[in-house]
Amino acid sequence: MGKQTALYEQHLAAGGKMVDFGGWDMPIHYGSQIQEHNAVRQAAGVFDVSHMTIVDIHGSDAKAYLQRLLANNVDKLKTPGKALYSGMLNEQGGVIDDLIVYLTEDGYRTVVNCATREKDLAWMEQQRAGFDVSLTERPELAMLAVQGPNAIATVADIFNASERTHMAELVQGLNVFQGLPVDGWFIARTGYTGEDGLEIMIPAEQAADFWQALLAQGVQPAGLGARDTLRLEAGMNLYGNDMDDSISPLQAGMGWTIAWEPAEREFNGRAPLASEKEAGDSPKLVGLILEGRGIMRAHQKVVVDGIGEGEITSGTFSPTMQQSIAMARVPRATGDSCQVEVRGKLVAAQVVKLPFVRNGEIVCK
């Protein structure tokens, strides 16, 4: 038996099919992954993401420390609550993990992946040398992601119904990529599905009641399976699939998260990344739509005629598009078509810019 979140009993009660995920017992689905996926695209779904690791960063050098630790620049965060997506890189410019960092009233809050927790914490601890910084994990917080076009209104309704109108107002006033504390909760307008929605950190003992309130409003419990198809349609990277320690952000479609200015900021991996950027020949991450029959899966070979080969990093069936889609790392010169080796056969695929789906609409051409 793995570790259990504060919502474990709720998952069982909702019919969750539990699987091991990075040492945690988590629901892969509650009956139908596709139905859960569609509920998030069309209305609202809730995911238990309590297995993710929340780390608060305090101390007089917190900003300087994060400016070394992250490829993006936390100096962009000017007001408490603002959030930034970034890679945390090693000295070689490989991605140790991707994370979100929030500016808080008295420091920063980061949310890192569960499967990489120990590696991340060891690296963050090691990088602390020479900085006046403290790292505090927050295992006492549960985390729920409420996602979909109706997500924000539904959460506001729940708060209003329980006379927590100040929380309803806060939720309705949040800007995209902003998170704020209220009554011991931390509510952010972020997500991993390509839909509008909230990620809510909440004292673990209050999580079950809030979960039940969401379900009572018709919010669909959604498992890790739907989370994966939703994020893939949204063109969002999954650590360990689309990037890892050996892949630079330039090759993982995360070039936009590298803050090159100011030039004097020495973040980990800057020099090798700068050389790679100047050489300009590293592979790129693209979207693929399979034209023939079959389902693309991670690690299948991509063949680009006359140019070279690449690899599928994530592939699945897209419930929204009703066909197979994938993310793939391919030679930079790749044009608008390629072939994918699906179970021994070469199948034609169209190369598109990510994402595939955003806010319920198919946006790739």
């Binding site: 892969i28 139908s32 992954q33 399976g225 029959r293 079959g294 389902i295 699945t316 069936f317 419930p319």
Partner: protein
């Protein structure tokens, strides 16, 4: 709990086998298998008239989650395939023992049927 009809035969790789009146067999995947797979989104069938050996991988069923091979339960020849599954792969989830049959076979040797698992044996395999 999965449904394991008593009148069918089974193999460990989760195919069911129904012996028809004319001695041919119909093959599909079990309720247990479809539950494990989750939402089925793609099916690839063998070609009619193909000679298959025991345990050959001859078809594919893919769910959102994963791809699985379908094996020939016994040696023989494929005599029909269920083309309707290609357009409606979700039938594998909805009606695994009915509309979602995969293919029919003429067995090389009818005695081979004795090697198949009974419903009770298969139920024990699934535990």
């Amino acid at each position: 709990m999965s449904n394991i009809p008593a009148e069918l035969k089974y193999v460990k790789s989760h195919e069911w086998i129904r012996v028809e009146d004319d001695g041919t067999v119909t093959v599909g995947v079990t309720d247990y298998a479809q539950q494990q797979l989750g939402d089925v989104v793609f099916v690839e069938l063998p070609e009619v008239d193909t000679e298959v050996g025991d345990g050959d991988d001859i078809a594919v069923v893919e769910s959102v989650k994963a791809a699985s091979d379908i094996y020939a339960p016994l040696p023989g020849k494929i005599i029909a395939v269920n083309e309707a599954l290609v357009d409606a792969p979700e039938k594998v989830n909805e009606d695994p023992y009915g509309e979602a049959w995969f293919f029919r076979m003429e067995l090389a040797n009818a005695d081979d049927l004795n090697e198949l698992l009974s419903a009770d044996d298969y139920a024990a395999e699934c535990e």
